[in-house]
């Protein structure tokens, strides 16, 4: 049985997929995951999920969004030339990053 493994590096961070393990049950999956994925990189917590419980939908099945140019919903469109609150600046830099990745996709 295959178990997908998600690792969280620090408390409060996101659990992100990092690989999978072969194990007969949940208990063994947790132990294998700890050994295979928790030893080398900083780890605060691991999740193991039976592979067959993971639903998947991919770009063969559906046209995902995010590729159409929708300038009106990006902060960068509103060129105000004024000082922004720090949280607005932070939001804008996160959006710029996402927009850049969108262009590369």
């Amino acid at each position: 049985m295959i178990w997908e493994v998600f690792r969280q590096e620090e408390n409060g961070e996101y659990h992100t997929h990092c690989g999978n393990v072969h194990a007969p049950d949940r208990e063994m999956a947790k132990q294998f995951a700890a050994i295979q994925h928790g030893r080398r990189k900083p780890t605060n917590s691991l999740w193991v999920v039976p592979k067959e419980e993971v639903g998947e939908i991919d770009s063969d099945d559906v046209t995902f969004g995010g590729t159409t140019d929708k300038g009106y919903r990006w902060t960068m469109t509103y060129n105000l030339q004024t000082d922004q609150a720090e949280e607005v600046v932070e939001s804008e830099s996160e959006q710029e990053q996402a927009d850049k990745q969108r262009g590369e996709a």
Partner: protein
């Protein structure tokens, strides 16, 4: 975990659904997140008519994107709240429809004119974002994660709001005058956004002691005034004489609390402010009008096949 241990450990993103948390913490977190979720929904309803009323196709598109975002924020937050195990999502949505759910003071006031939109889209959203940015460090991890996504999107809302204000204040004299009038009407409500001062706040001490709240009402209001009073002035808005607000020698804003209508604020807090009752009922009607959609989905007899799904772009 007992409450003393919670207080000791309370730090940013410290507690997750894996922790055994005392009821007092879970109830306080539920009250706070449910209020936030309800506010997202009620704010979206307030702005929705402007998808039609906005004067250009760009503005209509932006309002439509924004309303979609806000409803999404509500969904994220109900998820973060229901994980606490105090109330189900259905209970929270029912309470909102039935007038029991509490939400932000500003969203109890009707908004009918386009010149009013920057009061919400710029000043209220700007105030909200000041608060939300601090909540990325709240102790309830699912709430902090919801704030990551909300703050990512919210920068667009605030700048869009500022852009509307800039356009109106560079418009005809009539537009400028109507915008100033809208500002005068909304300004005291916006000042009250952060709630009563710390000494009169009912829930602050506990929420702060367990790390749910990261900044006090006073601190947030200071930070808001620091950033947004100069903005208002820059666009030619005059700060109204009342409530009296000034900066003292130490650079702190002093607000004459008695100039603000706290009776109205607490009437609103009880969902009893007459003009706002219509907005709560509006949400109830919307909830009822789409009941058939929920019934159909939950009936589990949806025919197979048909068009492949199109993800929201």
């Amino acid at each position: 975990m007992d409450i003393e241990e919670v207080k000791e450990r309370a730090g940013p993103r410290e507690f997750s659904p894996a922790d055994d948390l005392p009821e007092e913490y879970r109830k306080a977190a539920t009250r706070m997140i449910e209020f936030h979720a309800n506010s997202e929904i009620m704010g979206a309803y307030l702005e929705r008519p402007f998808i039609r009323q906005a004067p250009s196709i760009d503005r209509k598109l932006a309002f439509s994107a924004k309303v979609q975002d806000e409803i999404g924020h509500g969904q994220l937050l109900y998820r973060a709240a229901e994980t606490l195990g105090v109330k189900t999502r259905e209970e929270m949505l029912d309470d909102l429809a039935n007038g029991k759910g509490k939400f932000l003071n500003c969203f109890h006031y009707p908004m009918t004119e386009y010149v009013e939109t920057p009061m919400v889209a710029f000043f209220v959203d700007g105030a909200a974002m000041r608060r939300q940015a601090t909540l990325r460090r709240t102790s309830w991890e699912p709430y902090a994660h919801a704030m990551d996504k909300v703050c990512f999107e919210e920068g667009f809302h605030v700048k869009h709001g500022e852009d509307i204000l800039r356009t109106l204040m560079n418009g005809s004299r009539k537009e400028q005058q109507l915008t100033q009038e809208a500002f005068e009407e909304w300004w005291p409500r916006i000042i009250q956004f952060f709630g009563p001062t710390d000494d009169k706040s009912t829930h602050h001490d506990f929420a702060a002691s367990v790390g749910l709240k990261q900044k006090s009402n006073d601190e947030l209001r200071q930070a808001f005034l620091d950033q947004y009073v100069p903005k208002a002035r820059k666009y030619g808005l005059e700060i109204p004489d009342y409530p009296r607000i000034h900066k003292n020698d130490e650079g702190r804003w002093v607000v004459e609390e008695d100039d603000l209508d706290w009776d109205e604020f607490f009437t609103i807090a009880k969902n009893e402010y007459e003009p706002g009752v219509g907005q709560i009922d509006g949400r109830k009607h919307a909830q009822e009008a789409v009941q058939w959609v929920r019934d159909t989905i939950e009936a589990d007899n949806v025919p197979a096949g048909g068009q492949p799904p199109q993800a929201a772009d």
